[in-house]
Point group: C2
Chain length 365, copies 2
């Protein structure tokens, strides 16, 4: 019997062992920036870089506290729901939710670290926990309908480690050969994962599931699988042709679109299978959307661009926007922290309308 | 029921997520060394620094392959023993052995990374997996006699993460206040761990164990606990007074002496409880000693000293010793890799004389 609570415990040493050298790395860049006077290694928004202590852009570091505080709040909420909620759900199934809360806290720590000295090579530290959060939300959606078919925590985290290696390889050796290999890896992964999904976590669909399958669900799953694989095929080939400079954001985009397609499928299948939407889930969803839209606008302000030269990046720098202290990117931090928090709340409450129903009675899709 | 095989799986993502930023950090130092011409950031043995590609001291990096190769060999041996060995032992009890093999491989990767640019702040990456190996060997000895009382993998790795944080804190803020707090932390940890050991992994000794306790074992355990606590008390106070510059080596020394005391107790208690020594275990032990002694001599050659200034460190530099390519520190790498390998083999075979005996028949100490 898999103990899914380990999703929450196992992420802790991974987080600590990752963050320690990252923080050391970025501080060594900061010290070098301060000591040498070379201002081209760190792509700050020099028109709103408020220094404090050794930090050149303290505002860009401090504004990440939103992730940390909301991550802690999310952990508290999950704990309360697990302890006092209506669901008869075994506490271990909250393991992924706890892991999401911890991942949100770590996003704050690592994004803050990135902003100590933002540049191409440090950007991966900002995105690594974004990958983890997207993957964990997708897995939680899967687990809602396939309780015990989800892989154990150590299996998932090993694959996330492999993903992290690929992310770094793309950064350091983004050659044509790498991109060609990546096409096959991407398409292969898409096929394998959709196959595992269709067969409910197995390599072959259990016979009783085939016999009892709801026709509408099978049609829906088939459409999902076709759309997801078409998307991944297109993305893999397009990326090999374009070879985007910002490999990390490309990877994140692929993950988010896959996750988004699955979420869309999920909220379509609920009424198809005769389920209502949980009221609070709908509320949190629209609050999340209401935060993601302005967050995205602020993110796209392009205050700094490490894909270009330091001089060109400086041309995009802008004055502070809030309180003569925070710039547009800080506002992105605040808004996206809230957006992530409410996205996780949406996930936490998405099946609240099913509280009290046995696991076997819940529609599987 | 705790699944101890997770000791082997959980260490993998921890290792990957740790190594990725570490390698990036040290390469950024190397690039800075190459581009700026500042030769004081990396404490090479300049009289035997054979460059290759971007690496200034390729020999000091390459000589770490011994750890990697012997780590792989140890994993193969453990796998063979688990599959074909005489023991009726459940495969999950080999989890710690697999973890040791992986840790040995990681020691090679991280020591190699350290030697890309050896200095005070990077030294922690060399020692971090040494801490893990010492802790895992101690835990394995404990598990040999208290099969199911050992903590689960995720608990151990979380505490190792806490230890890693302490190691970094000692590096970045080794103030008097830190040392004073460390005294209490050190002594407290010693008391708690020896208490947990005496009570066989519990906070209170199970009643049946108290009634059935062998008097000789109790006396032996009492002596061990007193000696260990006296040592830790003395070390903690002495360190707070001296405040050693090389905090990482101090921590490693403390861990190794504690582990060594427990190992000494273990090999004394075997004949006290009427057990023989396993022949191969004795053989591997003396081979290990035979490698540790010369390894230690080569380690103490002091070719570089990042505790001093770059100029003073250069005064200790020496010519290559082997094949006009490897220096004494490379020889330390080769010898210590072998010594660690045979130390682990000693641990793997230490109770081979008990093969076939049920877990309940094995003396508990």
């Amino acid at each position: 019997m898999k103990d899914y609570i380990l999703y929450s415990w196992n992420i802790i040493p991974i987080a600590v062992f990752y963050a320690l050298p990252v923080m050391q790395l970025v501080f060594s860049y900061q010290v070098m920036h301060n000591n040498t006077g070379n201002e081209d290694k760190c792509y700050y928004n020099f028109m709103c870089a408020n220094s404090f202590g050794q930090l050149s852009a303290f505002n860009n570091v401090f504004s990440n506290t939103g992730y940390i505080l909301l991550g802690i709040l999310y952990l508290i909420i999950v704990r309360l729901k697990a302890t006092y909620g209506n669901s008869s759900e075994d506490k271990k199934y909250f393991g992924l939710h706890y892991a999401l809360g911890i991942a949100l806290i770590m996003e704050g720590v690592l994004s803050g670290s990135y902003h100590v000295c933002p540049n191409r090579s440090n950007y991966q530290f900002d995105t690594s926990y974004m990958y983890i959060m997207v993957c964990l939300t997708t897995l939680k959606l899967f687990q809602n309908r396939h309780r015990d078919e989800l892989a154990s925590a150590h299996v998932t985290y090993i694959w996330l480690a492999v993903f992290a290696i690929i992310a770094v390889l793309g950064l350091v050796c983004g050659t044509l050969a790498f991109w060609i290999i990546l096409v096959f890896v991407h398409i292969g992964a898409s096929c394998i994962l959709t196959c595992l999904y269709y067969n409910e976590g197995h390599w072959r669909r259990p016979d009783e599931n085939t016999q009892n399958a709801d026709e509408k669900v099978v049609i829906g799953q088939t459409i999902l699988i076709v759309v997801v694989n078409l998307f991944n095929l297109s993305a893999a080939i397009a990326a090999a042709v374009v070879q985007p400079d910002d490999f990390e954001t490309y990877l994140l985009g692929v993950l988010m679109i896959n996750s988004g397609l699955y979420f869309l499928f999920y909220i379509i299948m609920k009424p198809v299978c005769g389920e209502c939407y949980a009221v609070f889930s709908v509320l949190w969803f629209f609050v999340a959307i209401g935060l993601w839209i302005p967050a995205w606008i602020y993110f796209r302000q392009g205050l700094t661009r490490w894909e270009t030269t330091p001089a060109i990046s400086r041309e995009g720098n802008k004055d502070c926007s809030w309180f003569d202290f925070y710039d547009d990117h800080d506002i992105w931090h605040f808004l996206s922290a809230g957006a992530l928090f409410f996205t996780f709340l949406t996930l936490l409450t998405i099946d609240d309308n099913l509280d009290g129903e046995g696991a076997d009675d819940i529609a599987k899709f």
